[in-house]
C-alpha cells in the first residue's frame, strides 16, 4: 500500500517477484493500477487518502475475533499498559483527543496521553488485558467504528475484497508465518502520513510481524541514500543518529512543582510545557531528550562524542556546555516547505540547493517560484540547468506565468555537480544498508562533488571569520575541518578533492584518548588528544564515552569502519542466511531491528520455520542468523532489580530496546503531534465529508490559512469533484532534472499525461490522446489524456467518485518539456514531519490546451 514498488524501486521489486515465485502472496492496494499491480496476485483499487480506514478495519477485526498473536502481543507490546484516567479518546470527543487547543491548532497538553506511572517510574500494567484503561481495551473502543461497512463507504472497496486481504494476512502470520508491508510516499505524502504508518505498525504488532524474518514494515525511500540523509541528517530538527536538534525556548517556562522525573514513564519531566522546556544547557537538553530507561539512556555519550567530533578539545570546556551553546537551537518549523513562506515574506536571504529542484519538484511549485524571487542569492549545484536555476527566465506557460527578469533581484549561481559515478562515498538504502561506491571517473570540467563544494565552502567560511572577535563566530572558528588528502588520488586531475574515507572515519568514531589509560581528559600522563587522522577507530558505539575521550559523527553508523583498512560498507562477500558480510547495516550490522522478538519470551524460536535469533543456554548468550539486537548476555528470564536504570531497567523479554518500556507501541503515549492512536481524517481537500467523525481533516496539520497561493477547495466542492493522485514512472526520476536530458529515456516517456478512466473520459467528452486542462484552486496545467481502465471510478458514500493520476516528471527545462504537475498541489503539511499532501487532493478536468 502507498507504494508503486515495481516502478519506483524496480531493482528492489525483483526480490518481491522472487518471493512470489516461492509462494508469497503479493497484494497491491492503490488508487492507480500500476506496473506493480500487474505482477500482484491481487489488486484492489481504493480511494486515495483512506488507508487508515482500510487497515483500521483489519485491526478491529483482529481484536474482535481474537485473531491477534496473543503471546507476542501480551509480552512484546504495550497492550497491557494502563493509560491515565484523564485521557479522552476520539470516541468521546468526536474525532479529536484530549489536550487539543483549537486556537493554536496543536495538542498543547499531551500529559493525559501518558501511561499511569508506578512507583518506580515504569508504567502500571494489567496482564489480564481487562482493565478499561489498558491499551488493548482503549484500542478496542477506538477502532470499534472501523467496520467493513466503513471500508465500503469510505474507501470504495467492496467488503469481499477487503476480506480476502484480512484472510491472507491472518493465514500468513503467527508462529509459522510472517507478512511484510511495503510503503513509500503514497503514505508519507498525506496530511496524516505518520499516522498511516502507525496504523501499519499496530497491525503488524498485533499479527506478531515485527522483529521477525519475513515481517516488518518496509519504508521504501524515494532517492538513492535518502535514508542516509535522515541518519546523518540534512533535517532541521535532528542531529546525527536521530538525536533531536536542541530547541530554543523564547520564554523560560516555570516547571510545575509536581514534575519529577518519576512522574513519567521515560524518566524526564512532564507537564503542560514539557515540550517547551529550556534546552539552553547541555544538561537541560539531555534531561529532556534522553530517557531514564532503555537504550536512549546512552544519549549523553552519543551527544558528547558528537560535540567532540565537531569541536575536538573545545568540547571539553565546561563539560561540553561551551560548544553546546554554538549548536543552533530551533525556534519553530524550519523544514524545507515551511521555510518557503518565510522566503516569500523576505525572511530568508540565501539558498543553497544540492540536487533539489523546488521550482518543479516541490509541492505548490508556483508558490516555490514566487518565493525564490524574494531571495538575495541562490546557489544551485546540479548536473544540468534545472527549472529552479532558471526560474528568473521564464515560467511553465509564458503568457500565464509572466516572469520579468529585470524585476527579480535574486542573484543566481549555477555550479556544476558531479554524478554518482564521479565521486566516492556511501549510499544507505531502504534496508539501512551502507554500501560504498568508488569513483570511476573524474567529473568533467569544473564539475565537483558535493563533498568538495561543502568542504571548500567551510574552508572559506573559516577564513572569512578567522579574525572575528564576535562570540557568534566562535562556532565556525573552532570547528574541526580537515579532510585533506595526504596524497592526491591516483589518476585524478582533481588534486584538492577531500578524502571521503576520512569523513567516514569521523562518522564511525575514534578515540581522542585511546583506552587502557587511567584518568580522563586533562590528566597529564595521557597520550592525546589525538586528531581525526592519527586517532584509533572505535569498534562500535558501545565504546562511546560521556567523558570526552571519544568522538563520533553519527553513533548509529559506528562500527562501519572499525579499524584502518576495514571499511565494512565496501565489503562485498555474499553468503550466509543474511549476507552479514555484504556492506554494513546500522546499527551494529543488524539486518532486522528488534530481532529479539523472533524468539518467544523464553528465548526459543517461535517456530523452526521462522528461527532467527535465540538464547543459547549453554553459551549463556543470544545467537542466530543475525547480530542480536539485544544485550548479548542478558538472559530471557532477567528481571530488572529495583532502581535499575538504562538498558538494565528492561527485562529479558523486552525486545524493543529503544523504547523506555521495552515494548512495541500499539498506543503511542508520547512523541506524536496528532494523537496517540491513528484516526481517519479526510485529506485536506476531499470530495466527501468524514464518515467517521465530525472532525473533517487532521486538526493538527498546518494549513497556512490566509497565506497566498494556497487556496483549498471546500469539501465536496462541485468545481473540483475529482480526486487526483501523483506518482512516478520508471523511466524518469522525480522532477526529471537528471533524466529529461537523456534522449534514450525521453523517447520512452516523452510527455506529461493524465491517466483517466473511460467513464470519466466519456462524461467529459475526452478521447485518448486529447489535450486536457487539469485545474485546482492553485492553478492549471495541461497534459495528454491517457484513457485507461487502469483507473477506476469508485462508489463512495452512495455516489461515484472519479480519480485521476499524473506523474510529475516534467518542467520547462531539459530536452523534453511539459507542465509541472506540482503546480496543482497545495501546501498543507503533516504535523510531525512537515510533508505535503501530494498524493490525495481534488481537481477538475476539461478538454483543452493552455498554450
Amino acid at each position: 500500500m502507498g507504494s508503486n514498488m515495481a516502478e519506483a524501486h524496480p531493482v528492489g521489486f525483483a526480490n518481491v517477484v522472487k518471493a512470489k515465485e516461492l509462494g508469497a502472496k503479493v497484494i497491491h492496494v492503490d488508487p492507480h493500477y500500476s506496473r506493480t499491480s500487474a505482477l500482484a496476485n491481487m489488486y484492489i483499487p481504493t480511494r486515495a487518502g483512506t488507508d487508515i480506514v482500510f487497515m483500521g478495519a483489519i485491526i478491529r477485526y483482529l481484536l474482535e475475533n481474537n485473531l491477534y498473536f496473543h503471546e507476542y502481543v501480551l509480552h512484546y507490546t504495550n497492550a497491557a499498559s494502563l493509560v491515565k484516567e484523564s485521557f479522552r479518546d476520539t470516541e468521546e470527543l468526536d474525532g479529536i483527543f484530549s489536550g487539543f487547543d483549537p486556537e493554536t491548532g496543536n495538542y498543547v497538553d499531551q500529559g493525559s496521553w501518558d501511561y499511569q506511572p508506578g512507583d518506580d517510574g515504569h508504567p502500571l500494567t494489567d496482564p489480564t488485558l481487562q482493565n478499561p484503561q489498558c491499551v488493548l481495551q482503549i484500542m478496542r473502543r477506538h477502532f470499534a467504528r472501523y467496520t467493513p461497512e466503513m471500508v465500503e463507504q469510505v474507501c470504495g472497496v467492496p467488503r469481499e475484497q477487503w476480506e480476502v486481504v484480512v484472510r491472507t494476512l491472518v493465514e500468513n502470520s503467527g508462529r509459522e508465518r510472517t507478512s511484510a508491508l511495503c510503503y513509500a510516499v503514497g503514505w508519507t505524502q498525506q496530511s496524516k502520513g505518520v499516522q498511516i504508518i502507525r496504523t501499519a505498525a499496530i497491525m503488524q504488532l498485533l499479527l506478531g510481524n515485527i522483529g521477525r524474518p519475513g515481517g516488518g514494515i518496509m519504508a521504501l525511500r524515494g532517492h538513492a541514500s535518502i535514508q542516509g540523509s535522515t541518519d546523518v541528517p540534512t533535517l532541521y530538527d535532528l542531529l546525527a543518529g536521530y538525536m533531536p536538534q536542541p530547541a530554543a525556548m523564547i520564554e523560560p517556562q516555570e516547571q510545575e512543582a509536581k514534575d519529577r522525573p518519576t512522574d513519567t514513564t521515560w524518566g524526564e519531566a512532564s507537564g503542560k510545557h514539557a515540550s517547551a522546556l529550556s534546552q539552553q544547557t547541555l544538561e537541560e537538553y539531555l534531561s529532556s531528550s534522553g530517557q531514564k530507561f532503555g537504550w536512549w539512556s546512552n544519549i549523553p555519550a552519543y551527544m558528547r562524542s558528537l560535540l567532540q567530533a565537531w569541536y575536538a578539545e573545545a568540547a571539553n570546556e565546561e563539560d561540553g556546555n561551551c560548544v553546546y551553546r554554538w549548536i543552533p537551537k530551533i525556534t519553530g518549523d524550519h523544514s524545507h516547505l515551511a521555510t518557503t513562506y518565510d522566503m516569500l515574506d523576505g525572511k530568508v536571504k540565501g539558498y543553497l540547493l544540492f540536487g533539489q529542484n523546488p521550482a518543479a519538484g516541490s509541492t505548490d511549485s508556483r508558490l516555490q517560484r514566487k518565493a525564490l524571487q524574494q531571495l538575495d542569492w541562490m546557489a544551485v549545484f546540479d548536473l544540468y540547468e534545472t527549472e529552479t536555476a532558471s526560474f528568473w527566465q521564464r515560467g511553465p506557460v509564458p503568457h500565464l506565468d509572466v516572469v520579468d527578469p529585470s524585476q527579480i533581484k535574486t542573484e543566481v549561481f549555477f555550479l556544476p555537480a558531479a554524478g554518482s559515478t564521479e565521486k566516492s562515498g556511501t549510499f544507505t538504502n531502504t534496508g539501512r544498508l551502507l554500501q560504498w561506491h568508488d569513483k570511476a571517473i573524474d567529473p568533467p570540467g569544473d564539475a565537483r562533488s558535493d563533498l568538495w563544494y561543502v568542504y571548500q565552502f567551510g574552508k572559506r567560511l573559516k577564513q572569512l571569520y578567522a579574525g572575528s572577535q564576535e562570540a557568534r563566530d566562535q562556532a565556525i572558528q573552532a570547528l574541526t575541518w580537515d579532510y585533506e588528502r595526504i596524497e592526491p588520488e591516483p589518476g585524478s586531475r582533481i588534486l584538492d578533492d577531500p578524502d571521503s574515507e576520512l569523513v567516514l572515519k569521523e562518522i564511525n568514531g575514534y578515540y581522542v584518548y585511546p583506552p587502557g589509560q587511567t584518568g580522563g581528559p586533562g590528566s597529564e600522563s595521557l597520550q592525546g588528544p589525538l586528531g581525526l587522522r592519527e586517532a584509533p577507530h572505535v569498534p562500535n558505539f558501545g565504546a562511546l564515552k560521556v567523558d570526552g575521550s571519544t568522538a563520533c559523527g553519527s553513533w548509529i553508523y559506528s562500527g562501519v569502519y572499525p579499524e584502518p583498512g576495514k571499511n565494512l560498507a565496501a565489503s562485498r562477500t555474499p553468503g550466509g542466511h543474511t549476507f552479514l558480510q555484504w556492506g554494513f547495516s546500522w546499527p551494529a550490522n543488524r539486518r532486522i531491528l528488534y530481532n529479539r522478538a523472533s524468539a518467544d519470551p523464553q528465548g526459543r524460536p517461535w517456530s523452526e520455520r521462522k528461527k532467527y535469533i535465540w538464547w543459547d543456554e549453554a553459551a549463556k548468550k543470544w545467537t542466530g542468523d543475525d547480530v542480536p539486537d539485544f544485550p548479548i548476555n542478558k538472559p530471557p528470564d532477567y528481571t530488572p532489580p529495583p532502581g535499575a536504570t538504562g538498558i538494565d531497567a528492561l527485562s529479558g523479554s523486552d525486545p524493543f530496546i529503544m523504547k523506555p518500556d521495552g515494548k512495541g507501541w500499539l498506543y503511542a503515549p508520547k512523541g506524536l503531534r496528532d494523537g496517540p492512536l491513528p484516526t481517519h481524517y479526510e485529506p485536506a481537500e476531499s470530495p466527501v465529508h468524514n464518515a467517521l467523525y465530525t472532525q473533517q481533516s487532521n486538526p493538527a496539520a498546518r494549513y497556512y490559512k490566509g497565506k497566498p497561493f494556497n487556496k483549498l477547495a471546500a469539501v465536496g466542492d462541485e468545481n473540483y469533484p475529482i480526486v487526483i493522485t501523483t506518482y512516478r514512472l520508471t523511466e524518469h526520476h522525480v522532477s526529471g532534472q537528471m533524466t529529461r536530458w537523456m534522449p534514450w529515456l525521453n523517447a520512452l516517456q516523452p510527455a506529461l499525461f493524465a491517466e483517466i478512466s473511460p467513464e470519466l473520459a466519456a462524461e467529459k467528452k475526452i478521447k485518448n490522446g486529447d489535450w486536457i486542462i487539469v485545474s485546482t484552486p492553485r492553478g492549471e496545467i495541461d497534459a495528454r489524456a491517457l484513457v485507461t481502465r487502469r483507473m477506476r471510478p469508485l462508489r463512495v458514500q452512495g455516489r461515484v467518485v472519479h480519480q485521476i493520476g499524473l506523474p510529475f516528471h516534467w518542467g520547462y527545462k531539459g530536452r523534453v518539456k511539459g507542465s509541472i504537475t506540482n503546480d496543482l498541489a497545495h501546501m498543507v503539511l503533516e504535523p510531525n514531519v512537515s510533508i505535503e499532501e501530494a498524493k490525495a487532493f481534488t481537481c477538475n478536468i476539461r478538454p483543452g490546451k493552455l498554450l
Binding site: 502472496k25 500487474a38 523517447a747
Partner: protein, 323 residues
Amino acid sequence: MAVESSQQQTAIPHYPQWEPLRSVVSTFVGNKVAPLPEQPKMGFFTDTSLCIGCKACEVACKQWNQLQAKNPSWTGTSYDNTESLGAITWRHVQFIEDIGPAAMLPPPLPLFGKLAEAKSEGLIPETPPGTALPFFNTERWLMRSDVCKHCANAPCQEACPTGAIIRTEFDTVYVQQDICNGCGYCVVACPFGVIARDDDGTHTARKCTLCYDRMKEGIEPACSKTCPTDSIQYGEVDKLKAHARERLGFLQQQGVQEARLYGVDDTILEGGLNSFFLLLDEPEVYNLPADPPRPSNHVAPASFWAVLTAIVLGIFSILFFKE
C-alpha cells in the same frame, strides 16, 4: 601450418599435385578443414510472466550498441512509446492492457466467517497451501520485451542476396554491416518485423546481434544482464528450452492456464527460434503470428506456376503465331 596439421588429422592422403583441384572443390562444398571448437547454440528466453515493464533492456541495448534515440513522440498506447522494433530499436517492451469493464469479485470464501474458530481448532494447517489467490490478478497488464527471434532457419538470411546475413558460431543471426548493400529484401522476408534498414544513418539493414561482441568475450548480452527480474534470460538454447518447459509446467501448476511457449518447438519456421518466449495469452495478442510464413516457401509453387505460365503462353504463342 595450421591447415597442414589439420589435414593430417583428418587422415586424408596428401597429394600435392591435387592441390589446385582441392581448392576449386572446396569453394563449392565448403572447406572441411580447421573446424571451430564445439560451441553450443546461444539464445534468449524471454519470460513475460516476470516482466515488470521497466524498459531497462531497451536502454541497456541502446547504450551498449550506441544506438540513436528515437525522436520523442507520445503515442497514447498505454506506456509504449517505442512502438516497434527497428533499425535503431533492438529491444521493445510491449504494454497490452487487458482489463475488463467491471471489477470482478473473487470467489466466495466459505471459510472466512469461521476463521477464528478454525484457527483455534487447528483447522488452518500449519503450512497453509496459501490463500486461494490466483498467481496473477484477473485484470491483466501484459508486458513483453520483444527482440529478434534468431530463427534456426532465418527467412532474412535466405532472402539476403549478398551473404551479409550469416550465422555466427553461436548459431545467432548476424548482419555484417560492411557487406550489406541495403537492398531491403530481408526487411520484407522477416515475418516478425524485426529487421529494418537504417534510412537515417547507415542505410544498411540492422537488428539485434545478441551482443555478438560481448558473447565473444564470454559476457552476457546487455539486455539480459540488466533485466532486474530475470524476465530476459540468456544461455545455451537447449538448456534454456528445457528450463522454459519447466517454467511452463510451474505456471500451469499455479493455475496460469493461459501460459504458453512460443518458438520453443521446431514447428515454427521449421526449426524453432533461438530466441523464444513464454506468453500469457494467444500469440496474436502480442502481435506475434501464430504460424509465421516463410517467404521462400512460396518460391517453389510460384516458380512452378511461373514456368507453367511460360510454357502455356509459349504453346499458345506457337499455336497462335505459327501461321
